[in-house]
């Protein structure tokens, strides 16, 4: 919309020609200038500039919908009013049906917690026919860390939906709907023309907007996984009006080593709509709905089984406070100090 040509907007011929003559071709160019700047540039009076800008704005501006029509459209056209059920009852209830369409859902957690398993299960669910609760569609799996395992995918499929997968050719068809992209290097992934030449302040910015617009227009669920990093001392951030006593800061230092945060910072945290945190605490893995406009802050204990992820309890534990965002990770005490019983799953 922003790159719509002014020549195609139905402006009166005279003013449209003036815009073109001064190299103002797209709506973006025109709206990035104030009215006085346009007056100077185009050499026309204020009244003409105002009406031209109003006309351009009306054409470029997004269509208006009422919240009711939005809801009705989704209920009518989309699977479960726009949700992909994850087959984990507690989580689906918390998310009003499942992973929502049209927005970015993030899975964040320490290494080995189960993010890739979750993603494999979701890809399978999306490719299943509608009669089994799937979306009957294709999946694009962008595998940056080379963790995709087709063998594991088939195993999950066979164990969770034996009646489909034991039929001849079904496994091939289901797996055939999942397209795996493996970018060879980071530069291949982030290739983009640098129009201005100067290095960008925030290289992630364009990709975030793009992926969100893509999700929005195509009304498909977009799931991303994210890594964690340890929190440095400077990051216990407060506002200027929050008074911090000395004692607090001394105690906090011991938390830093075990305290993890999601990578990519606060800007990215704002950009995702739903954040699911996977963590391990006191010998149990939890999946927490850390950020969601539609769910209360619940934590569900889970295990990884041969058929994917299994929730141990469908009633989540409600966590109050900012702790829902904290990511805990256990060390390897249970393996290294091997005492026999602790290796039970």
């Amino acid at each position: 919309m922003a790159n719509k040509q002014i020549s195609q907007m139905g402006l009166p011929k005279s003013i449209a020609n003036v815009f073109a003559a001064r190299n103002v071709f797209t709506a973006k160019d025109a709206l990035s200038l104030t009215e006085f700047e346009l007056m100077e540039l185009l050499d026309v009076g204020l009244a003409q500039v105002t009406s031209a800008v109003a006309h351009i704005s009306e054409i470029v501006c997004p269509p208006c919908q009422t919240a009711l029509s939005l809801m009705e459209l989704r209920v009518q056209n989309e699977h479960l009013a726009g949700h992909l059920p994850t087959h984990m009852k507690g989580l689906d209830e918390a998310l009003c049906g499942g992973i929502p369409f049209g927005v970015l859902t993030e899975l964040v957690g320490p290494a080995g917690i189960g993010k890739t398993q979750f993603c494999l299960k979701l890809s399978l669910l999306a490719s299943l026919p509608a009669s089994y609760g799937g979306l009957d569609g294709h999946v694009i799996y962008i595998d940056v860390e080379s963790k995709f395992s087709s063998r594991r995918l088939i195993e999950i499929g066979v164990k969770s939906f034996p009646e489909i997968f034991h039929r001849k050719g079904m496994a091939q068809e289901m797996a055939g709907r999942i397209h795996v992209l493996r970018p060879a290097s980071l530069s291949e992934f982030t290739e983009r023309e640098f129009e201005h030449g100067a290095p960008r302040q925030n290289t992630l910015g364009w990709h975030v907007s793009f992926i969100k617009s893509l999700a929005e227009f195509s009304r498909i669920p977009v799931v991303v996984t994210n890594q964690v990093r340890s929190q440095s001392r400077d990051e216990i951030c407060h506002y200027y009006f929050q008074v911090q006593s000395w004692n607090e800061t001394i105690e906090d230092r011991t938390r830093h080593d075990s305290h993890l945060v999601a990578a990519l910072g606060i800007n990215w945290a704002h950009a995702v709509t739903i954040r699911l945190v996977l963590e391990a605490k006191s010998d149990q893995r939890f999946i927490k709905v850390a950020k969601s406009p539609i769910s209360p802050p619940l934590a569900f204990p889970f295990n990884i089984t041969s058929s994917g992820i299994l929730l141990l309890s469908d009633d989540g534990i409600e966590l109050t406070g900012p702790d829902i965002n904290a990511i805990h990770c256990q060390g390897h005490n249970d393996i290294i100090n091997f005492g026999g019983e602790s290796l039970q799953c």
């Binding site: 922003a2 709506a27 709206l31 990035s32 007056m39 050499d43 009076g45 204020l46 009244a47 800008v53 109003a54 704005s57 009306e58 470029v60 501006c61 997004p62 208006c64 919908q65 009422t66 919240a67 009711l68 939005l70 809801m71 989704r74 009003c96 049209g102 927005v103 970015l104 201005h196 100067a198 960008r200 302040q201 925030n202 992630l204 910015g205 364009w206 907007s209 969100k212 617009s213 999700a215 400077d234 407060h238 506002y239 200027y240 009006f241 929050q242 606060i266 800007n267 945290a269 704002h270 950009a271 709509t273 954040r275 950020k291 406009p293 539609i294 109050t320 406070g321 900012p322 702790d323």
Partner: protein
């Protein structure tokens, strides 16, 4: 009045000055055809210039001789006007108290906080609370919700709408009002119908929409609140030219203030946070920079205090700095459940 101050194009101004007309009075008594001959332009153009000139003169000159300043409003009149419009409640009593009753119409309020603190929740709650009928102490108006991030979830709006209607019927029962008519009208779908939703995908669309709102609101005069969620998103990605960003943002802020004033509605802008290095340590502060922080009339910061959500009035010409707890429940924004609820004055 000087010719240089007329809102006409540069070339027309140039021709006027070249022909020797430097002030309005020098050509206001001429006929358009005479002017056209002098400046070597068409009759229509000359008539246009004279029309613009007399219009500007009218705005300027009539002040001489009267006691009032043209275009100004006395403070007393403004006080009366303010009292005419009820404020928009946030459904949380403590929060309403520190806001002086709720979100004020005719003003731009900025609300910012970390991700997950409840900004979108507050936005949706306000979009619904503005529709509370006048009989129940609300404004009975409609809402415009501008979504730049895609965080508006219809299911959540429905939940909050249902809870609001429940609360109203309880309240109505207590007041023993004759609310049969109101009850029939207030179905959650009616509430959803009165929220005008725009999804903006780039900063150009955001600017275009704010320009278009003038026309839209003149056609829908009962809109009483405009919520932008969030005003930051498109301005944080992908901006090379910071000076341009500041200019665009201040232009946008001015237009929003004008909207608020002209149509007597409330404008609520939701903002994100960023880390800033101040005085030797990193501090949280609202995004978009220092110039933007001047643009809004009121500023509220939502933050975590221990395990509770608090709101703090950071900047306001009429409210004192205070913080109050609130909570986000399945019904929307409500009072905090903790026992030691105290409004802390800073």
């Amino acid at each position: 009045m000087e010719v240089g101050r007329l809102p006409i194009s540069a070339s027309q101004r140039g021709k006027l000055i070249a022909a020797g007309y430097t002030t309005l009075s020098s050509f206001s008594s001429l006929s358009p055809s005479h002017l056209a001959r002098d400046l070597k332009i068409s009759d229509n153009e000359a008539a246009e210039i004279m029309r613009v000139a007399s219009h500007s003169h009218r705005l300027d000159g009539s002040a001489a001789g009267c006691g009032t300043v043209n275009g100004a409003q006395t403070a007393w009149d403004m006080l009366h006007e303010e009292e005419m419009f009820p404020r928009i409640t946030t459904s949380c009593m403590d929060l309403d108290n520190i806001l002086g009753g709720g979100i004020n119409c005719k003003e731009v309020t900025e609300i910012g906080g970390v991700p997950g603190i409840g900004k979108t929740q507050l936005g949706i709650q306000l979009a619904i609370n503005v529709q509370i009928p006048v009989d129940y102490g609300g404004l009975g108006g409609k809402a415009i919700y501008i979504d730049t991030e895609g965080s508006f979830m219809v299911e959540r709006a429905l939940q909050i709408a249902e809870a609001c209607i429940e609360d109203m019927s309880e309240c109505g029962g207590l007041l023993r009002k004759d609310f049969q008519a109101c009850q029939l009208k207030m179905h959650p779908n009616n509430i959803l119908e009165n929220i005008f939703y725009f999804r903006v995908c780039s900063y150009t669309e955001q600017i275009a929409l704010i320009n278009y709102l003038d026309k839209f609101i003149s056609e829908h005069k009962d809109v009483k609140i405009v919520i932008v969620d969030s005003v930051t998103f498109h301005f944080r990605q992908d901006f090379d030219d910071m000076a341009l960003r500041t200019r665009l943002l201040s232009g946008m802020a001015l237009k929003l203030m004008k909207l608020a004033k002209d149509f007597s509605l409330a404008v609520v802008l939701l903002n994100q946070v960023t880390n800033k290095y101040i005085d030797g340590s990193f501090q949280l502060t609202l995004a978009l920079g220092d110039s933007w922080s001047h643009s809004c009339t009121n500023r509220v910061i939502l933050y975590w205090n221990g395990n509770e959500r608090y709101a703090y009035i950071d900047k306001s010409p009429s409210l004192r700095s205070a913080s109050a707890p609130y909570s986000v429940t399945s019904k929307g924004i409500r009072n905090s459940a903790s026992n030691c609820k105290r409004i802390k004055m800073m």
